[in-house]
Symmetry: C2
Subunit: 350 residues, 2 copies
């Protein structure tokens, strides 16, 4: 599940943006809606978490592979997605899971676009590094290109203290012009929780919450593009906070990152990203590529082995720079045992 998709509408408040057309809505004819299927296809290549993007010919911005859902051609949403991705990239998908359906008016705009009524269904797909080489179109990019503030592998990213935090605090001071929810969570609190300020801890799963807050504060390019009022208030002095994406694709990617980070902790999905045989340290590096901070090596080994997630192949891998490492493979049977566990790691806090 997305880490906390519902933070905004927790505890009986209402989404500030909702409820505008309360009574007016009534039993109007459903206007034709187009459904867009979007895939965040994730792999780990050389210990770097990457996502598959398509760079349109005329566009300067990247986008996820996507296409409209056609109920005549596609039996299910997911088969439609697989078809689109294979057509656009030549990549056959393995593990696929639905993320979220976004339908906010105005969040699907392109510059100069008439903002058609599009509902986006986001999907997460995981691909093993080996398969990732089959790619025909599109390219793999580190997901931290789009979310530099999520990259804690070398400690707290500078962009946070230098660019993001001061502007967020400033935004927290300025008055909000929209109608307030019934019981609003103060902006300072939302910032503190999302970004772990003032003694709070950084929760690596709250990727979407952070992006949405930056969007709401007008700090990402997509907000300006969509004509958000907050965005214009910053003027032109605003630095670029991560590379923007087409439509609402960055929002979908944020959802995807949050979901993988959450899910590897309680389901054995990490192995979707691994080749058949691997060393425990390679596995750990892959987990760390996804989660960020470093794990305690000995405990990671104990955990993975005692949970029965892997079994030794009998082979060893030399050239590791030290003592040769045993090779392991995923025990697919764990899925057939009860509640298949994930890598229940607790990331080391910095």
């Amino acid at each position: 599940m997305v880490a906390d998709m519902n933070f905004k509408r927790r505890v009986h408040e209402r989404d500030p943006e909702a409820e505008t057309s309360h009574v007016a809505a009534s039993r109007s004819e459903p206007a034709s809606v187009e459904i867009g299927l979007n895939a965040a296809i994730v792999a780990v290549i050389d210990d770097e978490p990457v996502v598959l993007v398509i760079r349109g010919e005329r566009e300067a911005v990247d986008g996820l592979p996507f296409g409209p859902f056609s109920p005549v051609a596609h039996r299910t949403l997911e088969s439609g997605l697989r078809t689109w991705v294979e057509e656009q990239t030549g990549l056959g998908l393995g593990y696929v899971e639905q993320l979220y359906t976004f339908g906010d008016r105005g969040r699907h705009a392109e510059p100069g676009d008439a903002a058609p009524h599009v509902v986006s269904i986001g999907y997460l797909a995981l691909t093993e590094t080996g398969h990732a080489r089959d790619l025909q179109h599109g390219s793999w990019r580190s997901w931290y290109q789009y979310f530099p503030w999520e990259d804690w592998r070398k400690g707290k990213p500078e962009i946070l203290a230098a660019e993001i935090e001061p502007r967020l605090r400033q935004w927290a001071q300025s008055p909000s012009s929209r109608s307030a929810p019934v019981r609003p969570v103060p902006r300072e609190d939302r910032i503190r929780i999302c970004f772990g300020l003032d003694g709070g801890a950084w929760d690596e799963e709250k990727v979407l919450d952070r992006f949405e807050l930056l969007y709401e504060a007008g700090l990402v390019e997509e907000a300006r593009r969509d004509g958000r009022e907050a965005a214009s208030a910053w003027g032109s002095a605003l630095p670029r906070l991560g590379a923007p994406m087409q439509f609402d694709h960055r929002r979908i990617l944020a959802t995807a990152i949050g979901r993988v980070r959450a899910k590897i902790k309680y389901r054995p999905v990490i192995f979707e990203l691994m080749p058949d045989d691997f060393t425990l340290f390679e596995l750990q590096k892959t987990v760390e590529a996804i989660l960020g901070p470093h794990l305690h090596k000995q405990n990671f080994r104990r955990l993975v082995e005692s949970a029965g997630l892997v079994e030794p192949t009998g082979e060893v891998k030399t050239q590791t720079g030290g003592r040769p490492a045993k090779l392991f493979r995923f025990r697919r049977e764990v899925v057939l045992e009860r509640p298949a566990p994930g890598v229940r790691v607790k990331a080391v806090r910095v």
Copy 2:
């Protein structure tokens, strides 16, 4: 997240039903699609978990409150949902979260219906018992009416051993006619995992997986209605396994139940179902209404208090049948502290 929505398509296999129109799909014009917004509104009344259903005039079956999404009238999907629900039931929603988007062809049929191209977005809403009385239309029904095999409050439900298990085993023996996935999980294993047979444990979160298995085996009325081949094989001797619902509403409700059951364990959503003041035992009864089996009273208290989820109001409640109980209220501040925890209960296995 739904407990394990992706069980079928785990480990590089593919959904048996997908992939049919692989090449044919191509860049066809997106046919017009109607989007249905559906709400599973849950409350706990007198220690019984209930869901709000609408009984259509001519229909014999219950349905969830729903309506089409109109992008001109509704700014967001969620505001559209709130509007529909309020119109249909007079109930203003508090906590709302999106569940899943279903688009399978043929799963939205009504008897004699031409199966329009409808995509259903399911939502979960939680309501406090007090608010639940404001209802103008519709009625509250125990969710176990629709899923009798999920009701473990008095031990294992008889319907499992008497009706479900033998038929599932029989279905496991019969050959499947559809194209098999790349690496199929044998039916016996799926049954064992979903229903905790042969030494497996019953996982109360796998509500959707169980329903989908029953649907695939043709054991629920919706499967027959949708013209599934397996369904006809059973002839007319099939007992009614739970009350059916309109369209794919039972699938949405299954998703909702699984989601609440999962979510109360790691987010403080249980308090959405409680009045302002409550005793710890009342809280425990509500958790048990959702989860099923009984919890250890003393440990439950320790857990809830030490997690800082509640604070005493100073009042006590007499008439409890024994010593008076202290009244507590939810500490809303926990949401503002870091990763707001749920009631991390481990259900007692029977």
